[in-house]
């Protein structure tokens, strides 16, 4: 929105149809920015690659490292927008593939974008719809033009091109949008296909940049690919950095590959990505993974895990998960987590939630979702505070030790910390043993 400059006597009148598209920023600081985003590293960990930063988006200002809950279809599994706000969460993810189908761009346009449609005034991030290709691969066909696949909802054929993905994401109106990438499973052994996908993703990135119609409102992130092939990944990063974008996503991981390969691929990506721009690691949400990847230099994350596991009655705690369906909880009068101050933990006991799991699934799913999102928010806040005080290595060490030592399913008394965790943190100067 242009400010009236008193020096000139000419008033600039903004036509209403543009007004409907342009978002009003909650703060002026984005007015003169190159992108509708600002990223400022506030503090660096003196040992690892972790950093504390401030991220300013059109709809929200937040600190990173941060976690984004996933509201796939324009809703967060039973948690209403004002409840999300109450959890100190102001950035969530929506899924382009699903939203493009239902409700579709026509209705989203009529509504004025997803923010208005779902009544969420915080920041939104949308993925491109590309990930669904991996999960629906048996029905999908990838060509240079795009991806065609059969909608599982009504069996119709859908073609997703970079241009179409941009069109849908422009309609949705998220603060950050993803390029359409040629996603290939990280466990795929075919190096030729992996290379083809990586190079095609770059060509698709350029098509996305060209067809992105709302550069002043929405930040387009490219996605680093290359699977577990370090050479390809390095090539991917170097090409992406040549394009002028506000930030980067690290993709093609969290698809069932070994953790050993996973962390190396993440670390290589962050080694070559510019320090002054945010790094979004896709598909990571387990506490241990979050801590390790923060140490490796990632800034924000998304995962369906917290909200999905809530549906099955599992509540997140530092030691892992509590499966509240188990009978041991039927008489447990404690709250889920005595350190948590979410609505669920302030009000209800585990026994009560156990009872609800047998009767009112809607309410209990909502209650556990609220707790799980609160847990993730609190975890990230603890991580940020430790970076702020330069005690991140100690925080990581304590958390990881406690997590694995409390795992009573293992037989030995020796530390059960997986090798990959030890090696990953060692690579950034954090010694766990």
């Amino acid at each position: 929105m242009k400010k009236h400059n008193p020096k000139f006597k000419i008033f600039l009148k903004i036509p209403s149809f543009i007004k409907n598209q342009v978002m009003s920023y909650p703060n002026d600081s984005l007015d003169n920015s190159e992108y509708p985003m600002k990223f400022e590293v506030l503090q660096k960990c003196s040992r690892s690659k972790a950093r504390l930063s401030k991220l300013t988006l059109p709809h929200a200002v937040l600190e990173t490292p941060q976690f984004m809950p996933v509201g796939t279809q324009g809703a967060l599994k039973g948690v209403l927008p004002s409840q999300i706000r109450d959890l100190n969460c102001n950035l969530i993810l929506g899924n382009t593939y699903h939203l493009g189908n239902r409700p579709g761009t026509c209705i989203l346009n009529q509504a004025g974008g997803l923010h208005k449609y779902m009544n969420w005034d915080g920041a939104l991030l949308t993925d491109s719809g590309g990930f669904q290709m991996v999960s629906l691969l048996k029905l999908a066909k990838v060509t240079e033009e795009g991806v065609s696949f059969q909608s599982p909802h009504d069996d119709s054929m859908m073609m997703l091109t970079p241009e179409k993905s941009m069109e849908i994401q422009n309609s949705i109106g998220a603060d950050i949008i993803m390029q359409l990438d040629d996603v290939v499973s990280s466990t795929l052994d075919d190096q030729d296909r992996m290379e083809e996908a990586m190079l095609r993703s770059i060509r698709w990135l350029d098509r996305c940049i060209k067809s992105h119609k709302r550069k002043k409102d929405q930040n387009l992130f490219p996605i680093v690919q290359g699977g577990l092939n370090m050479k390809l990944r390095e090539q991917s990063v170097k090409e992406l950095v040549k394009r002028n974008t506000a930030g980067y996503a690290i993709g093609g991981l969290s698809g069932g590959e070994s953790k050993d390969d996973f962390w190396r691929a993440v670390s290589l990506s962050t080694d070559f990505l510019p320090l002054e721009k945010p790094r979004y690691l896709m598909g990571v949400g387990f506490a241990i993974d979050l801590i390790v990847c923060v140490a490796l230099g990632c800034d924000f994350f998304d995962c369906v895990f917290p909200t999905r596991t809530a549906r099955f009655g599992c509540a997140l705690v530092d030691e892992g998960q509590l499966n509240l369906k188990k009978n041991t909880f039927s008489t447990d009068e404690k709250t889920i987590d005595e350190n948590c101050d979410c609505f669920t933990c302030k009000t209800y006991s585990r026994a009560f939630l156990h009872m609800l799991l047998n009767s009112d699934e809607v309410t209990v799913c909502q209650l556990i979702s609220i707790h799980n999102v609160a847990y993730q928010m609190r975890l990230m806040r603890r991580i940020r505070d430790s970076i702020r005080n330069d005690t991140f290595p100690e925080f990581a060490t304590n958390f990881i030790n406690r997590f694995y030592l409390s795992d009573t399913s293992k037989k030995t008394n020796a530390k059960n910390i997986p090798d990959w965790v030890i090696e990953a943190l060692k690579s950034v100067n954090i010694e766990l043993i």
Binding site: G78, H98, N119
Partner: protein, 344 residues
């Protein structure tokens, strides 16, 4: 004595009420044995006897408890069947209102009034209560026919005479301070009719039953003009509501129940609130289009949002109902409500 249920569900400032059956679901009649009745849960049937029930309410404290009973939620042909159910109810009543009464001083036990649609059996029952001289502050009528799909009572007026006769029988010595509970979900027009017959407390499951189907209620809970006792509600401009819809199917739904079905595709592009001028949280924050989307994509937020609206609407209606009695315009209010549901 026992642990408070109110504390367990984090509602310690509320009055807790234990009902025998979940009237938001339709359950199977019968399947009782001897002096036990069948109650139904996800796991199937459980038989409850007096002492099992006794044990339960001793250990878990509720402020108000329904005495177990046996009746049918539809009309029954066989007098013998009704008699059997009535006898079974008697055995529970004898237990809880007889010698055991002293045990439950902190809990108000509600007297069940059974006998289905058979006046003779109803009178057997009330005779027994009179002769046994049982003391109770509240009673609940069972045995009314309910509609299988909407789960509400089919017709309040059908039971008018029966209710008046039984009421007469159980009121002793001018003891007017007894309350009557209406056990089935009821639409606002049915509530008003029941209030006229002296009912005081209603089950709040009507909004829930509506929500489960994806419906939202759109009746008007109040209207300022009718507060004037001089105002004649024959003046149709004010009180008559005719909500016009496009197709015959929803016209029918709308006429009978004053609800909208948010599963209907026609709402997918309707960006208005559930009900115009409604001040509830849902209507202030969400559109019909979005709620349609949530229902269509099977998101549970849909139910939360609909429930908030339906409860708000229902409770606003009850508040206004009480106002109308207190401020002497109940007749106007009754006509206002009945007109909406196209009843005379």
């Amino acid at each position: 004595m026992g642990k408070s249920f109110g504390n367990f569900i984090a509602m310690k400032d509320y009055i807790t009420y234990l009902s025998v059956h979940d009237n938001s679901k339709s359950y199977q009649n019968g399947f009782n044995e001897g002096k036990k009745i069948a109650i139904w849960s996800k796991r199937g049937k459980t038989l409850i006897s007096s002492d099992i029930f006794d044990e339960f309410i001793k250990n878990v404290h509720f402020d108000i408890v329904e005495c177990p009973y046996d009746d049918f939620d539809g009309s029954v042909e066989s007098k013998k069947q009704i008699r059997k159910a009535m006898e079974r109810t008697k055995s529970f009543v004898d237990w809880f209102f007889g010698d055991q009464r002293e045990k439950f001083r902190n809990t108000e036990i509600i007297m069940p009034l059974v006998g289905n649609n058979d006046l003779e059996n109803r009178k057997y029952f009330t005779e027994h209560l009179k002769n046994s001289n049982y003391k109770f502050k509240g009673s609940i009528y069972h045995g009314f026919e309910r509609d299988k799909s909407s789960l509400t009572i089919t017709d309040v007026q059908k039971y008018k005479k029966l209710i008046q006769i039984v009421d007469n029988d159980i009121t002793m010595d001018g003891d007017e301070n007894k309350f009557k509970i209406f056990s089935l979900p009821a639409r606002p027009d049915q509530v008003v009719e029941a209030v006229e017959l002296g009912f005081d407390i209603f089950t709040g499951t009507y909004p829930y039953v509506i929500t489960k189907k994806g419906y939202a209620t759109i009746f008007e809970p109040k209207n300022d003009l009718i507060k004037n006792p001089q105002h004649e509600t024959e003046d149709y401009e004010v009180s008559k509501k005719r909500i016009k819809l496009d197709d015959a199917e929803s016209e029918k739904l709308n006429k009978e129940d004053l609800v909208i079905n948010l599963n209907d595709k026609k709402f997918s592009e309707d960006f208005g609130p559930l009900k115009k001028n409604c001040t509830c949280y849902s209507c202030k924050n969400f559109t019909r289009a979005y709620i349609y989307h949530l229902l269509f994509t099977k998101e549970i937020s849909a139910h939360t949002i609909l429930m908030i609206h339906n409860i708000s609407n229902y409770f606003e209606f009850f508040e206004e109902l009480r106002n109308s009695i207190e401020n002497d315009y109940f007749n106007n209010f009754k006509k206002f409500v009945l007109n909406q549901f196209k009843r005379e």
